[in-house]
């Protein structure tokens, strides 16, 4: 109870309350603008938060992280364009509801589901705190190394269909973290005798380039889209009543969000796809999914909003970020000499509880703000793409230049922006680079520290948590190898004309009569996301 009062004391400051307000309102607005997203906003704001108190800076960033998905539902439902990448599934059921004239009902459902997901994850975080406080000190160097390795492995495995590229890009991130002076003998690594490379690549500069500047380039080279907002009827409050008619969907989806959020490298996408699939299996009307099902909308919105709270668990307890946004937040901790990990729970529990409370208050603030302002937030979706690109480019300058007033940093950020632009054009993932960069540094330090106390390979996993983590890594490796082997197919390098000719001859032969029907069915079922908004 004392800790709770101390936490309230930490929060009861005008600058923290202002940060909560700015973070929540700013996050909703950023989420409502398709093409910006929380990653861009957090990357731009990171350097500005370095001059603030850790709690103030983190509250702003947490506010943007937690509330952007609320805002992202608005364009997803009303104009069929997800505001943030993780609102992609919301379009499947939200937009058909809008077309039926039930836009306000869909928005209301999305807000209430998001609120439930957000609050549920914070409650889980609070409930798990005593356990985390007990377990976190059991994590020594080797356990943290193994957890970081697990995080990298999971982020690679999560990119199904792109695992090789995701692995190579994660390794590129690890390589970037090694450039510059190494911490053992203080020799230079891959500096090519260039003084500007001696201090290595700054994480913030790379992040700003890969997320913000690349997004600006993408928007600047895009065409503007005409946005038509359909009229809708209904009350913005009805969803809160309707939510309680689907208790099973809500709790299952929120649980998926929490579990997936806790696992490093997995994140919102997997959480919402799993909750959506399970909601459809549990539903009495599975055919309505994808055609304006309220259960589908609830499942996707609950799951993605349950992730931010849960994603703080590995960050706070172990100092291991699970995805790009928490990786950026880690730098705020480091700048202020607050080292997340077991020590944080042991010595600064009031700070941890204050963050939980901030998340809780944030969810209430966001819902109140949305109920008041949805009417005009809709107009944010009308900002032209290229104009938005100009705005992001200007803001990116502030972000990069304010770190060290260095033109070299700006050049490096622009180069990474160009790389990010190509990756986004090719629909290749960017997140593995950032996670590789953050976790690579952690792995190097922790492995070196761990190996000083290890005589035989068995010593490395002779502690229970280390053994469990090693076993999980092994299971993931074996199951992935098994899946790849099962799905292995020789690459078909025939030209499209030759393939069409072969298909046509099969059709003429009359043997695969249902060939075209099956193919159409598969095409209808396939729905994919891209990394454009990530």
């Amino acid at each position: 109870m004392d800790i709770l009062f101390q936490a309230v004391d930490v929060l009861a400051r005008w600058d923290v309350l202002l940060a909560l307000l700015v973070g929540s309102i700013g996050g909703v607005a950023i989420g409502a603008i398709p093409g910006v997203g929380p990653a861009v906003a957090i990357a731009i704001l990171l350097p500005a938060t370095f001059s603030m108190d850790p709690i103030v800076g983190l509250t702003v960033l947490l506010g943007i992280y937690g509330s952007s998905m609320y805002g992202g539902a608005i364009p997803a439902i009303l104009i069929n364009t997800p505001g943030t990448a993780v609102n992609a599934l919301t379009t499947y059921d939200g937009f058909p509801m809008t077309l039926r004239g039930e836009g306000r009902r869909a928005l209301s459902l999305a807000y209430s589901a998001s609120f439930f997901g957000g609050v549920f994850s914070v409650i889980c975080l609070i409930a798990l705190s005593p356990l985390l406080a007990k377990v976190a000190p059991m994590f020594g160097s080797r356990e943290i190394f193994l957890a970081a390795l697990l995080g990298i492995l999971l982020v690679v495995v999560a990119h199904r269909g792109q695992m090789l590229v995701a692995g190579a890009l994660a390794a590129f991130g690890i390589f970037l973290s090694t450039v510059g002076l190494e911490p053992v003998k203080y020799t230079r690594r891959y500096t090519f005798e260039q003084t500007w490379l001696a201090s290595g690549f700054d994480l913030i500069v790379v992040v700003l380039g890969l997320f913000a500047i690349s997004q600006a380039f993408l928007l600047l080279t895009m065409d503007d889209e005409k946005v038509r907002i359909a009229k809708s009827r209904g009350s913005l409050f009805q969803g809160f009543r309707e939510l309680f008619r689907h208790p099973r969907v809500v709790t299952v989806s929120a649980s998926f969000g929490v579990i997936m959020g806790m696992i490093p490298g997995v994140g919102e996408f997997t959480a919402q796809f799993m909750s959506y699939t399970s909601a459809r299996k549990l539903s009495k009307t599975p055919d309505a999914f994808g055609h304006g099902s309220s259960e589908g909308l609830i499942a996707s919105e609950t799951a993605n909003n349950a992730v931010p709270g849960a994603a703080m668990i590995p960050l706070l307890a172990l100092g291991i970020p699970g995805e790009a946004l928490t990786a950026m937040m880690l730098s705020v901790f480091y700048v202020h000499n607050v080292v997340p990990g077991p020590g944080l729970f042991a010595f600064q529990m009031d700070f941890v509880v204050a963050l939980y409370l901030a998340l809780l208050i944030l969810n209430v603030l966001v819902v109140v703000f949305l109920l008041i302002s949805t009417g005009w937030l809709v107009y944010l979706t009308k900002i032209p793409n290229r104009f938005l690109g100009m705005c992001i480019l200007l803001l990116s300058f502030v972000g990069v230049y304010s770190i060290r007033n260095s033109a070299v940093d700006c050049t490096v950020a622009a180069a990474f922006g160009f790389l990010g632009y190509i990756l986004k054009r090719l629909n290749m993932p960017i997140v593995p680079i950032v996670l590789g960069m953050v976790l690579g540094g952690i792995m190097e330090v922790k492995l070196r520290a761990a190996m000083t106390r290890v005589n035989t390979p068995w010593d490395f996993i002779d502690r229970p948590i280390a053994f469990i983590l090693f076993a999980i890594i092994l299971i993931i490796l074996i199951s992935t190898a098994w899946r790849v082997r099962r799905e292995w197919r020789a690459v078909d390098r025939r030209t499209p004309a030759k393939k069409a000719s072969a298909r046509f001859s099969r059709r003429l032969a009359g043997r695969y009569g249902r060939h075209f029907d099956d193919r159409l069915k598969i095409q209808r079922r396939k729905r994919r996301y891209d990394h454009m908004g990530s």
Binding site: R160, G161, L164, I174, K185, Y190, F387, V491
Partner: protein, 176 residues
């Protein structure tokens, strides 16, 4: 929504072979430099070697990009790749805009340069209506006031501000 392909992103085919090929060549080049760019420290354990992590990461990069290239359906660049490459050239213009902005700020000043940059780029992007140009200028002023004025981010005053009279000079140097 039932099969596994639902959460499977698809990589764009056009341009892929060029990117992966270039990434593979870069990985191979960096790996060949490992002897020159890193040292082997005598008496240190394997994990503490300065060469260890660059070596591991570059080996994974080489294997990852190499295997991806090997598994690609089309490994010979064609017209589609060239067209995609032309799209990659497009942002270079905005990169130049950005760099000009970066080098001009210490001379001209954050506020004047931001306004000029926002208006000029908005004009270049094809928004010629007065309302859009005014909006761009307002946005630039808002950014400067918010970040330099209120949040106090570190962007140094410009050389041009030194020409101002003493009173406004210190205000401009500190807040704009």
């Amino acid at each position: 929504m039932s099969d596994d392909t639902d959460i499977q992103p698809t990589t764009r085919i056009a341009g892929q072979v060029i990117f992966v090929g270039a990434a593979l060549a870069l990985s191979a080049f960096l790996l060949t430099q490992i002897g020159r760019q890193t040292i082997w420290a005598e008496g240190e354990s394997f994990a503490a070697q300065p060469r260890f992590w660059p070596g591991v990461s570059l080996a994974i990069m080489l294997a990852g990009f190499g295997l991806h290239l090997w598994r690609m359906k089309r490994r010979r660049p064609n017209r589609l790749d060239r067209e995609e490459m032309m799209r990659w050239v497009e942002p270079l213009e905005f990169m130049i805009w950005f760099m000009v902005f970066v080098f001009a700020v210490p001379i001209v000043g954050f506020l004047p340069m931001s306004i000029a940059f926002a208006i000029a780029l908005t004009w270049r992007l094809g928004y010629r209506r007065r309302s859009m140009l005014v909006l761009a200028a307002v946005f630039a002023v808002a950014v400067v006031i918010l970040f330099k004025g209120f949040l106090g981010v570190r962007i140094p005053g410009a050389a041009l501000y030194e020409l101002l009279p003493a009173g406004p000079r210190s205000f401009f140097l500190q807040y704009l």
